[in-house]
Amino acid sequence: MPDQPLAETLTASADAFVRFEGVSVTYGSGTAQATPALSPTDLAFARGDFVCIVGPSGCGKTTLMQTLAGFLPPTGGRVSVGGVEVSGPGPDRGVVFQQAALFPWKTVAANAGFGPAMRGLPRTEQKERVEYWLRSVGLWDFRDRYPYQLSGGMQQRLAIARALANEPELLLMDEPFGALDALTREKMQEELHAVWKRRGMTVLFITHSVDEAVYLGTEVVVMSRRPGRILERIPAPFARIAGERDIRRIKAGADFVALREQVLELIWGEGG
């Protein structure tokens, strides 16, 4: 895209880990109800980045993520991870959906250990991972329950633990905290940030909360209205702040507020 110099340079650069090249999606193409959902999009980012996507409802954020997850073949262009073109879903790309999409016939522990069990990891390692991740999301005491016995926020934490127990290089999250109350939401933001710091995986994170995007992301990608294209990519410094962090202090800081307002203005400009 000629109006996106940052995208251009990163797309061309060698250290890009995830690469969207001219990716477009039209639902029901060739039919009377053809819906262009995503304009040809170029986007690339490096290993270890935490990329947050914001944009008006229906602009194609989920669509973009689904091409990377391998659930949806793009109508045009290609998506690649580590230089390999995406051709279907795989355990290298963990997905957390907006609705938890858990398996209610399996216990909490079996949900968390689903990936390692399916991939046939040694039993001791399966157990270790389940315990480690259930403890990190505070669900270890609920390991023998069933998902429907958990609150909405706990279910979402289980979905995150399930994705992380597989230790994917790339984590795709579609509005994972959308259904949570403000307090739980900020706690989850802190937990997710801590995990990301510790494990250094690459994250693509969709959210409607600009606050969340600016706090968590190393970069905020703002999309236009449908059919979505990338309006602007804004680097965000807060995720990389070293040492002890105080989420309330950061979010109240003048530079945080200024960046948040900058992003909000872009979205307002889109009338979304």
Binding site: P89, G94, A101, W105, F114, M118, R119, N166
Partner: protein
Amino acid sequence: MSLGGLRRHRAGPRLALGCVSVAFALLAWQSVNTFHIIPSGLLASPAQVVAALIDISRHGYRGTSLGEDIGATLLRALGGFAVGTIVGVPLGLWMGMNRFAAAGANWIVQFLRPLPPLSFLVLLMLWLGTGDVAKVGLLALTAFPIIASATFAAVAAVPVQKIQAAASLGASRGQIFRHVMLPAALPTISTGLRIALAAAFSTVVAAELMAGSDGLGWMIFSASQFLRNDIILLGIIILGLLGMALSSLLLGLDRGLIHWRGRE
């Protein structure tokens, strides 16, 4: 009233209400007799039916014992149901997993499903004789399209996100089938099985009415020729109770095993 109250009923009042309504029905039956609303030659009294029960359980009915008649009817119904399940569930699963299987089999299944089974009993008797093979075959034909349709619909309705979640966790196609599709479809399959068993059970009686020398259906039909309406009523009551027992057995299995029914 809370929304939960729409679903949950406490066991105590439910049991009491059930007993009251049964007592009321028995009372109504007795009054019809006592006040000769229907001539007693056409409607036996409760006492006469109990007498018939005692008589038949001691001496049998026309050469077969009551146990044999009940056993014959049950075995036929369950046999046909089992064959229908063994054919219907895998076919429905295959149709749900494979578009070509669905396209190929669905018309046939949907053609068979609304047909009254008795309409092809005559054909089956011509081919297979009037014995148990024809009857079990008929019941299998009754149960199988119901089971196959329910299973097909169940698999088609599995939320795509759950399948995607499993795939992105590294599950193979076979693992997705076994760990996601099958358990997600199980509640609807189980409902289909219950409907199919009820259908098979009501058809077995009709089949025994048309041909046979044992079974509850045969007993009722035979009694009608001798105007023994005490035995007819007895047969109907036993059939109803058996049907209830069978369906609550399946319901109990469903409730016990499929704990995730209706829950996310």
